[in-house]
């Protein structure tokens, strides 16, 4: 049956009643959109450091964190305000007695709430266009992008608003609605952290799928888990969203957010609104005033919150107590406490805090069962060791190996399990003792020097594969690895650099070489000796004398710092650890931000749950450790050259003294070839103990691909490599001398 009540009139009336909400949002978005653009434009017009267009691009368009956060917050606020009628018996008596279905009423309210956002938001976007036009920097492309960004902003709002509406419908009080929104936002990530924590602490041998290693020390969780986290709540999805690395510059580049993510934000609010309407139909009027709208959810939610809390406590006290009995007591106590707190939130009556004792019983049973499964390894994860006869193949890999491996289908993998599959060998007799040793060393610390951390794979004859991470006696590993490396085919599989051909060398963009200070000093001495030997031959190079090379080089570098039209190296200390090298002529704005530390971990940045590299507001604060993404800098309208003419390297000393210099492409190629030869002829063991330094090679297949950074250890006995480095050092010094001249 249809109502004679006009949907339109009712919606407009409801919207008018929400005037305060419209006004509030108008004010907030005025500050976040047009004012945020106006103030820097006005300032820039006076100081004229950058172009006004650059300022415009920084402040309008896609992926503006402040705007997105405001939109998300307004979505939540609107839902709490607009649907507050669901928490009031008086208002429900009034509204539900009207000749209008309650789902229609919800839609009326929903639409009115949406209008409170859409009108001020779009008005402020229009004001921003006006501001840009007044300063003469607005273009059709930017307006088009702003229009698209506005539509995306509306989708973000609808997503946040609908999700918060679901929380409001599931609860009967505003306080519990707020708690529900908070819980829905972070519940899955927190549970995930607790589970990962329990795995790391109690099941150190477990090597889950999707694990990668950052510098061998820190586990990172790859795509599937990252995707799970990024999609763990609608609000996180919005905040984690980025237009595929194309942030900020869409107005220039014409790169737009991918259709899939836009469709996701179309489907998500639609699905949640449909859920809201379904909830409206089944939600009882008498739910108003109760903590939760559906009584059956009380126990479920209580248990779902109390169990992870109890596990978290158990995990936390494990290190301190190391007593199963006490740990059980803590888990039980905090499980019960969680239930009591939840019951208090439900009833708001301390006398009823112990009501529903079966909830406490279930919580305790589940918490203790899960805790003991982890704590006592009841599943036998740590002690798993198949019979040797059952094994068809095994593989072993030190986690401290930062190479890029490619699957058979040509796709790069950082998944430790995939890499172990690539390194399979049928030399079970050789590797089995490592596994036995690993099972015995479960509680041992791999970082005390006596042991080494290994990841292993068992491939059983049944076809099943099992992966484990072990702490193994170093000597045992070394002898096994030495024997494995005798096999040239295995060695090529283990060290992908051995297979690099000319095509791959062309894909290299930068090389960083880190050597101890003494080694560089030795190069300088060699150079000085060379100069002495050749004195008189090099006319005009009178400063280039023994013992003065380093100072001269540094002076030359200083004089060229960012000013020369030719290639220059600039040294800068950052926290005493990171050196900065720039190719000023090629890309002065971009390369100045590249850091050795950042570049070294560029293959990591895309694994972070929120890719801050695509988020200019965040990345400024967290550049260290992230991939240097040129898209961060909107003012540059030029695309990065690929590949660059010159490779760069830096040296780092433990004293924090750094110098920087450039390496020609030809020298870089020689360096890789020399390294290949040295590695092929060596015993094949690259270990920290015997290393002299490291070489990080940054490369990518296509310009829009993420960077790969392969890090190979250098050894003193890699004489060809060291020779190439020495030559390159001398060449570089001479080049700089020439430039100075």
């Amino acid at each position: 049956m249809t109502s004679k009540i006009s949907f339109f009139k009712l919606t407009i009336n409801e919207w008018k009643k929400l005037g305060w909400l419209t006004a509030l949002q108008a004010l907030l978005f005025a500050m976040v959109i047009p004012l945020r653009l106006l103030l820097p434009l006005a300032l820039e017009k006076k100081v004229r450091v950058r172009s006004l267009t650059d300022v415009l691009y920084e402040n309008v368009g896609f992926d503006k964190t402040l705007t997105t956060v405001t939109i998300v917050a307004m979505g939540i606020l609107c839902a709490l305000a607009v649907f507050s009628y669901l928490h009031s018996r008086k208002r429900l008596d009034f509204y539900y007695s009207l000749a209008i279905r309650r789902d229609t009423l919800f839609l009326v309210k929903y639409t009115a709430g949406t209008l409170t956002f859409v009108i001020p938001f779009l008005a402020n976007q229009a004001l921003a266009v006006l501001v840009g036009a007044l300063y003469g920097v607005m273009s059709a492309a930017v307006v088009q992008e702003m229009a698209s960004a506005s539509l995306l902003g509306i989708l973000f709002f609808l997503t946040s608003y609908s999700a918060a509406a679901v929380a409001v419908l599931l609860t009967g009080k505003t306080l519990t609605s707020v708690l529900a929104i908070g819980t829905l936002s972070v519940y899955l990530p927190l549970v995930w952290l607790v589970v990962c924590g329990c795995q790391e602490i109690f099941l150190p041998t477990l090597l889950p799928d999707g694990v990668s290693y950052l510098g061998g020390a820190y586990r990172l969780y790859l795509t599937s888990r990252r995707l799970m986290l990024e999609h763990s709540s609608p609000w996180i999805m919005i905040l984690a969203w980025n237009p595929d690395g194309a942030a900020v510059r869409q107005g220039l580049t014409g790169i737009w957010p991918d259709l899939g993510s836009i469709c996701l934000f179309l489907v998500l609010p639609a699905a949640m609104t449909a859920l809201c309407l379904a909830l409206c139909r089944v939600r009882r009027t008498e739910a108003a005033g109760k903590a939760l709208a559906f009584a059956w959810t009380e126990g479920l939610i209580k248990i779902m919150l109390a169990v992870p809390a109890a596990l978290f406590i158990g995990m936390t006290v494990y290190e301190e107590l190391d007593s199963v009995v006490w740990e059980i007591c803590f888990v039980a106590a905090f499980g019960a406490l969680g239930c009591v707190i939840m019951e208090f939130i439900y009833r708001w009556d301390i006398r009823q805090a112990l009501a529903h004792k079966w909830h406490i019983a279930v919580t305790l049973a589940l918490s203790l069962a899960i805790f003991l499964i982890f704590r006592l390894d009841l599943a036998g994860i740590n002690t798993y060791l198949p019979e040797k006869e059952e094994l068809a193949a095994m593989s072993v890999r030190r986690s401290y190996s930062d190479f890029c491996y490619y699957n058979d289908d040509g796709k790069r993998t950082k998944n430790e399990q995939d890499i172990l599959r690539l390194l399979e060998t049928d030399k079970v007799d050789l590797l089995y003792p490592l596994a036995e040793n690993g099972v015995r060393n479960v509680q041992k610390d791999a970082f005390d020097g006596q042991y080494v951390s290994l990841n292993m794979e068992y491939r059983l004859k049944s076809g099943r594969t099992v992966f484990r991470s072990y702490t193994v006696d170093y000597d045992l590993y070394e002898s096994a690895a030495r024997e494995l490396m005798q096999d040239e085919e295995y060695r090529r599989r283990y060290y992908p650099i051995l297979s690099w051909d000319d095509e791959r060398l062309k894909q290299i963009e930068d090389i960083w070489v880190l050597l101890p200070q003494e080694q560089w000093e030795k190069f300088e001495e060699d150079e000085a000796q060379e100069k002495s030997a050749g004195a008189g031959k090099a006319a005009g190079n009178e400063e280039f004398t023994a013992g003065g090379v380093k100072n001269d080089t540094a002076a030359a570098i200083d004089s060229l710092d960012g000013k020369s039209g030719s290639t220059a190296a600039r040294e800068k200390m950052v926290d005493g650890l990171v050196t900065e090298i720039t190719t000023a002529a090629d890309n002065p704005d971009i390369s100045g931000e590249l850091t050795a530390g950042a570049a070294n971990s560029s293959d990591v940045s895309d694994e972070l749950s929120v890719d801050t590299a695509d988020n200019p507001d965040i990345s400024d604060e967290s550049a260290e450790g992230l991939e240097a993404d040129t898209s961060l800098y909107p003012e540059s309208s030029e695309t990065e050259e690929f590949p660059e003419d010159e490779w760069e390297y830096a040296e780092y000393s433990s004293m924090g003294v750094m110098t920087g210099m450039t390496l020609t492409e030809e020298a870089g190629r020689r360096l890789i070839r020399a390294y290949q030869e040295d590695l092929a002829e060596s015993d094949g063991l690259l270990t920290d103990a015997g290393s002299e330094g490291s070489m990080s090679i940054e490369w990518r297949r296509e310009q829009n691909d993420p960077y790969n950074v392969d890090r190979y250890l250098l050894r003193k006995d890699f004489t060809r490599t060291m020779e190439v480095l020495r030559e390159a050092y001398l060449e570089s010094a001479l080049r700089e001398k020439d430039m100075r001249g």
């Binding site: 049956m1 249809t2 109502s3 004679k4 009540i5 006009s6 009139k9 009712l10 009336n13 009643k17 009031s88 018996r89 008086k90 208002r91 429900l92 008596d93 009034f94 539900y96 007695s97 009207l98 000749a99 209008i100 279905r101 309650r102 139909r281 009882r284 009027t285 008498e286 009584a295």
Partner: protein
């Protein structure tokens, strides 16, 4: 006509309505009385489509009321805890009612609000409880719905206003199809306006009858007879609902035709005899006692 069929409504462990059956005919003023917690508000909320019963149904003119706009558009429900929009004035509410009740009579509302000497532009939050009740009743009346559910509406109205509202109800009854249902915990408050009354007690309707019928069929008499034997004979001959003896004065509440009761007493040649008017309260007490309930202390 409103038909309430086997309606049960529970709030957790509490059964507010327990298999309630009732019928409210068109054109009457139906009083729903009962103690606090008897289920009056719950019954009205179920009837207005605010609450969904666990079982049973409420039909308005043969249409189920739950989530049926066609049935609900015939009802205006004035809840006991009336709610107005924040910062709303009488005019604001009038405008909203005009949207949600298509038959709303704005002119009449403006006229009545003037007659009741209420400022239509003043914020309702600044009104007294009685004044807000008046506005609520006027809004309900001007909604021009066929049925008007008033939950404790007269509570808080002064006697003058109560009479004025009763007059308005009476006028509405004359002018159009109008059936107000008035819930109250006080019989005295509604006895002079209702012509049908239903008594709710502990979630059930004890009875629902025409008030005049009840008044005509029940009589209270006081008499002094010549001998105890005659008293025994009289009590046996009459359909006695209640009797009391104080000294030689015998007070009887009996069911039957007035003439019949009168004749039977006169046959005994009483020394003193008088037929007294019955209050609604006494009728209820008598009826409920017959029904097996002792609710003397429950109804004021």
């Amino acid at each position: 006509m409103i038909e309430i069929q086997d309606v049960t409504k529970r709030f957790g462990d509490v059964t507010a309505l327990n298999h309630v059956d009732a019928q409210i005919d068109e054109g009457c003023i139906f009083g729903l009385v009962g103690t606090n917690g008897a289920g009056k508000s719950t019954l009205l909320r179920v009837a207005a489509g605010v609450l969904k019963p666990e079982s049973g149904s409420v039909k308005v003119d043969d249409t189920p009321v739950w989530e049926e706009p066609q049935a609900k558009e015939k009802i205006c429900f004035l809840a006991d805890t009336g709610w107005f929009f924040p910062n709303a004035s009488a005019n604001t509410m009038r405008d909203y009612y005009a949207i949600v009740y298509p038959e709303f009579d704005r002119a009449r509302f403006d006229e009545l609000i003037g007659k009741f000497d209420l400022d239509p532009k003043r914020k309702l939050s600044g009104f007294s409880k009685g004044m807000r009740k008046q506005v609520a009743v006027l809004l309900g009346l001007c909604a021009n719905t066929k049925y008007l559910f008033c939950d404790e509406t007269f509570d808080g109205l002064d006697p003058v206003m109560r009479q004025a509202v009763k007059s308005l109800f009476a006028a509405e009854l004359l002018n159009r199809k109008f059936t107000p249902v008035i819930a109250s915990h006080s019989l005295r408050e509604i006895e002079d306006i209702c012509d049908h009354v239903g008594l709710l007690h502990k979630g059930g309707v004890l009875f629902a009858k025409d008030l005049d019928e009840m008044k005509l069929g029940i009589h209270k008499l006081q008499c002094v007879l010549r001998s105890p034997q005659q008293e025994e004979e009289l009590l046996a001959e009459l359909e006695v609902l209640q009797h009391e003896r104080r000294g030689s004065l015998l007070t009887i509440v009996a069911r039957g035709e007035r003439e019949e009761v009168n004749a039977k007493v006169q046959e005994k040649e009483p020394l003193f005899f008088e037929l007294l008017p019955l209050t609604l309260e006494e009728i209820f007490i008598s009826e409920t006692e017959v029904a097996g309930y002792d609710i003397k202390n429950l109804i004021l």
